[in-house]
């Protein structure tokens, strides 16, 4: 590309306020023609072009010589496992970090982005994975924050209100501007994040794992919004680890693995299998292979369970179900609909208000004396949802975590002392069997990756040979390779005749593992379906819409 081309692009790109943008749109065709006349090699200008980006955090080389080109007016997906460097790369683009080396071009013009302000001025907007919203502010205040204009905010409020109304109409992003953020559902909160970016004149929108917190229906709605933004000429970069989303919505896709950009494909010319292989670096089985379930006796029985949270709000409302030996019962639902409180109550961590839970036919005193230590002894193993806060002590060595909760068992003690050698050799066996990497039982647990940490918890609970296994979010924050392994182990537990209760917000996971699916909404079980239930059907139940789904409602 020639230098004078860059300068020409610069003149065009200084435009960011609304009316200048309108002029630009009018002149857009000419601009295109002019570009191709001056530079015959290029089809259209890239919205973003990254060349040779490197970034290290201490010894960790998070981005290695990354090249990426995003066409204007397209949706470009970036996939990769956790820790592949996707978020780091986007943080560099948004000015959160500075690259150690490499070049960034926005609309063909080389730029330096030192702060988020620079990025905003260049028309780059970001929707963060964890929303950057002030929860007790109104929608309007959140949108205004940092873009207020004058020192006094009364004028800005009026201006922002008008501008928001305009944006809402243009992009069908309806939201009550005076609502308090914490009272809005997450789907709407995300919409506020998008509005924030658009309000600042974003032409390029980066979305970091946007669907993690959404129901399938909300995710579909988000994709429709993205399509609409694309039609209006915006460029969208979508970061995700969910292959299905990439296939559904993107035009092009780039794959990252271990800090490197390993491939870029046209979405229409690739497949889920190819992308998964590129991500992991080897062939992955995406479908879990499993045989027929052979359910036996009822091992876990929950009867009219009601649980309140610490604020006294009823989170689990009169829930009853059974789990039989040799079957996996999946609890689906959007996070925060009582699943967490329910499994905590069953596992004896949280006291229930009313109801009974029977383990192997014997009540466990779920409203009173239930105690996780006794429950473990009686054969109930629990893999908590949040491994960092409940499953592991991150500061401990791996071998210490691998006996946590069973540390009083005969095999680990020597009179009043811990049998250190026994514990370590036991830990080494588990490391071997569960392929925990790095295979070092003396390493601090915090230094293992998410997937390996999860395997430490699973190994600890599964190797106790429980009759009932409760698993919460087994693959949250776990990469594709480890997911495959974990799923296989859960199926093996079932085939070994264990009763498995699986709670997950990942609908795909529930559908591929569970033999029966219960959907929770607002603390109640609103439906039971077989493993062949469609995603639309389950999605409706998860959103609290009961009854038989119709075709249009399933959208």
């Amino acid at each position: 590309m020639s230098p004078d081309n860059c300068c020409g692009g610069a003149a065009h790109q200084t435009a960011f306020s609304g009316w200048i943008q309108a002029i630009k749109m009018l002149g857009f065709g000419n601009f295109e023609a002019w570009i191709s006349a001056t530079d015959g090699n290029r089809m259209a200008p890239y919205a973003i072009e990254l060349t040779g980006i490197n970034k290290s955090f201490g010894p960790v080389h998070a981005n290695k010589n990354i090249n990426l080109a995003v066409h204007k007016g397209t949706i470009h997906g970036i996939i990769g496992e956790n820790g592949a460097g996707k978020s780091t790369l986007m943080s560099i683009l948004y000015g959160f970090y500075q690259a150690d080396s490499g070049q960034i071009e926005v609309d063909g013009k080389p730029v330096t982005i030192n702060t988020p302000n620079d990025a905003i001025a260049m028309g780059i907007g970001m929707v963060h994975q964890h929303f950057m919203l002030v929860e007790n502010f109104t929608v309007l205040e959140n949108v205004m924050l940092g873009a207020e204009g004058a020192q006094l905010i009364s004028g800005s409020i009026t201006k922002a209100r008008q501008e928001l109304k305009h944006l809402e109409e243009e992009y069908a992003l309806q939201v009550d501007t005076d609502a308090i953020i914490e009272e809005l559902p997450v789907g709407l909160q995300q919409r506020v994040e998008i509005l924030k970016a658009l309000y600042r004149g974003a032409e390029i929108l980066i979305l970091d794992e946007p669907t993690g917190v959404l129901t399938p229906a909300e995710a579909d709605h988000l994709f429709r919004i993205l399509e609409q933004l694309k039609e209006q000429g915006k460029t969208i970069v979508l970061i995700t680890h969910k292959l299905r989303e990439i296939m559904a919505v993107t035009d092009n896709v780039s794959v990252m693995r271990q800090g490197e950009m390993v491939a870029t494909r046209k979405t229409s010319e690739t497949s889920v299998e190819e992308l998964a292989e590129l991500m992991v670096g080897r062939r992955v089985l995406l479908r879990v292979e499993k045989g027929e379930a052979k359910p036996g006796d009822v091992k876990l029985s929950v009867e009219n369970l009601t649980v309140k949270d610490s604020r006294g709000v009823v989170m689990v409302d009169n829930v009853s179900f059974d789990v039989r030996a040799g079957e996996i019962v999946g609890i689906a639902g959007v996070a925060g609909n009582g699943q967490s409180q329910m499994i905590e109550a069953i596992a004896g961590i949280r006291r229930a208000e009313t109801g009974r839970v029977l383990l192997d036919g014997e009540p466990i005193g779920v409203t009173g004396e239930a105690d996780p230590f006794m429950l473990r002894k009686r054969g109930m193993a629990h893999v908590p949802e949040d491994r960092h806060h409940m499953g592991l002590v991150l500061q401990f060595e791996e071998n210490e975590n691998s006996i946590l909760g069973y540390h009083g068992d005969d095999e680990y003690v020597n009179g009043p002392m811990l049998d250190i050698d026994g514990i370590r050799s036991d830990a080494r066996e588990k490391i071997e069997k569960y392929d925990i990497r790095p295979p070092n039982c003396r390493l601090k647990t915090a230094n293992f990756s998410g997937g390996n940490q999860q395997k430490i918890v699973l190994a600890r609970e599964m190797e106790q040979d429980p009759t009932v296994l409760i698993v919460g979010q087994p693959t949250r924050g776990v990469d594709v390779g480890a997911i495959e392994f974990i799923h296989k182990r859960i199926i093996e537990m079932r085939d070994a005749g264990k009763a498995v209760l699986l709670v997950s917000v990942e609908l795909d996971e529930i559908r591929s593992l569970a033999d029966r699916i219960l959907v929770m909404f607002a603390g109640r079980v609103v439906g039971e379906r077989g493993p062949d239930a469609t995603e639309g059907e389950l999605g409706l139940l998860m959103a609290g819409v009961e009854g038989e789904p119709t075709k249009e409602a399933a959208e």
Binding site: T115, M132, L133, V134, E135, F137, L145, G146, Q151, I153
Partner: protein, 323 residues
Amino acid sequence: MGIFETLILILDSTVRLAIPLMFAALAGLYSERSGIFDIGLEGKMLAAAFAGAAAAAVYGSAWIGLFFAIVVSTFLALVHGFASITHRGNQIVSGVAINFIAAGTTIILGQAWFRQGGRTPALSAEGSRFTAIELPFAEAVRDVPVLGLVYSELISGHSILVYLAFAAVPFTWWVLFRTRFGLRLRAVGENPGAVDTAGISVTWLRYRAVMCTGILCGFAGAYLAVAQNAGFVKDMTAGKGFIALAALIFAKWKPVPVMFACLLFGFLDAVAIRFAGIDIGLFEVPPQFMQSLPYILTVVLLAGFIGKAIPPKAGGQPYVKER
């Protein structure tokens, strides 16, 4: 003296006693709203009182005293900022350290400079103290029933700092809820990430907040040593910084309720002074009990009579950019 006159006198001393609390609580409000807990209000106030009294004594001017009070208090506020914003230290530890430094330094410097056992010289010269301002017609309307006394005793006859303290309440409200700075200040105390990603410097915003705290603590200290009293006495803040903190929590970090909370604490103090040893027929209530009343009330109120006080969500946590 009738009940009405007594009441007016108690309310009058309520106002006087509430002023340092109001300055200090509003000072804490700026800092805590920005997410920096400040347990060092007490120390800043004490250091400001000393600096104000010393400067007023040396230069013979109350205004120069106020100026030095503000400078010293702001300096200590910046030290707190440096520890807790720039170096992400523990805000409680830093605040406690400032309290200790102020308690020790004021006595040592006072003895070294003035040799009066840690006191500063009494401010007797003309203009070296903030004196009472007689509002217009205060004497003329004194004999008008009820309102005359209210105007001449309660409203008129305070020093300029008293009026400034009351003006600072609506001003703080206006800053917090009507200006860009206020919007950002409230935001940074709730979610600094939102502020950072919006392209605003969290560090600079929080530094400005602690500077506001320093300035207002300077006023509080100057009021104690240069207006209410005529000079500095060691430990003269006597826990007022902590009471102010209690009032701030009691008022749920809102400016106007802060004023009422401080007036309530001031009122209790005034009652305790007025009725130090009151005979209630059966026995004499010991003066110590009356004096401890404000503190007992603080404990009772904070123990849960105020409903849930939700502090700014990011309070006490240093801001670290996440990956």
